[in-house]
Amino acid sequence: MSDIASKVTKIIVEKLGVEESEVTTEASFTNDLGADSLDTVELIMEFEKEFNVSIPDDQAENIQTVGQAVAYLEENSK
């Protein structure tokens, strides 16, 4: 697992109270990990803070799964 992927996993485990094994690349925040819309907003904010990026709302809407988050952050984080 990349450094970014492991940090993303850690944030998701912390915020959503799920097991690390559930946080797979394909896992959807809302469908698989029990997040509601507010949880998802909070996750995006945590990613922004952790990786020192600003994720515009229209981009954030496309981040629905763990894999999408990791891919976005690998591309955009400094």
Binding site: K15, V41, E42
Partner: protein, 417 residues
Amino acid sequence: MELKRVVVTGMGALTPIGNTVEEYWNGLKNGVSGANPITHFDPTEFKTQFACELKGFEVTDFIPRQDARKMDLFSQYGVVIATEAVEDSGLDLEKVNKDKIGVIWGSGIGGLKTFEEEVLNLADNNLVPKFNPFFIPKMIADSASGHISMKFGFRGPNYVTVSACASANNAIIDAFNYIRLGRMIACVTGGSEAAVTRAGVGGFNALRALSTRNDDYKTASRPYDKDRDGFVLGEGGGGLILEEYEHAKARGAKIYCELVGGGISSDAYHITAPHPEGVGAYLSMEDALDDAKMKPEDIDYINTHGTSTGLGDPQEIKAIQNLFKEHTYNMSISSTKSMTGHLLGGAGAVESVAAVLAIQHQTVPPTINLFNVDEEIDQKIDLTPNKAKERKINTVLSNCFGFGGHNATLIFKKMEE
């Protein structure tokens, strides 16, 4: 229309002197002080460096961490208290009509810690807004009753009353009224507060409302004592299950006592100071007696608001003497805030639990730290100094007064068929 009777069938408590109703009663009857040096934050820079905090409370013993972190402390306390009360009531959640059960809670301030943390983050972030999406739902005072309803699926009336330190009594009166009118069969009611924060302590310090007896904090909350110097901030709360009498009887519920009256008034005088002659306090107690169809002579014990402030304590006693006249000397009077500290919006709730327990155990909890009764107060009044007192208690009147001039009074009565 004939009003229905309302009884208490369950209780919960989370207080600085006990984390359950049983522990709370042990603390009350033994005259335990709940004061401690502040642990919630570093109080070095504060005039007051102690409070009555909860002891050994771990929210994750009751609520999963990922749910708890979406609640401010006062809501967490509310859910924990409500859980004890609902379990104590023996209500069968599979069978009971949950659409007719409400949650009416009280909180004077709401999520102060959440507000503080978010504003500090804003400052740290050079005023660039990065608010947590849970900021508002954690902070707003009504989130406590919302969380309680979600935990149990109670779909009846649901809101939080805000009248400062009278909040919980207002909540209980509202619950009482809806049940009397037949609009609910039962209600989870009470209140909770979690204001032992920098803003809470600093704000009340600025009002000169808090005791600063840092060198002897255990005796700082001393209602009616001549050397009292302000109230001691407490946290936690209490809860009651109020239930329509016939419903409780039909299911064979354990009935602690009856709630027979609720009185409400306003001082219309000053935003923080009580009326010096206790005009509002008098009206509230009179209103409660009228509501209960009782005479002053019917009251055995008054659990006073008695916060240990210079102005507040004597005005309440004046109001009691004006209303109860000679009967004042027959009653027992005490302020349990001497032990719990002042739970603000939760005060009426923990004191209601104390009132019900006093009837159950036929014992008046004491006013501790009463060394020398203030000369302004009639020395012949039994303020239950320092030791609990066994006596006949059929009825208890419990007062709460809040900044803003809000007054609310409850009367509980031993159960009679």
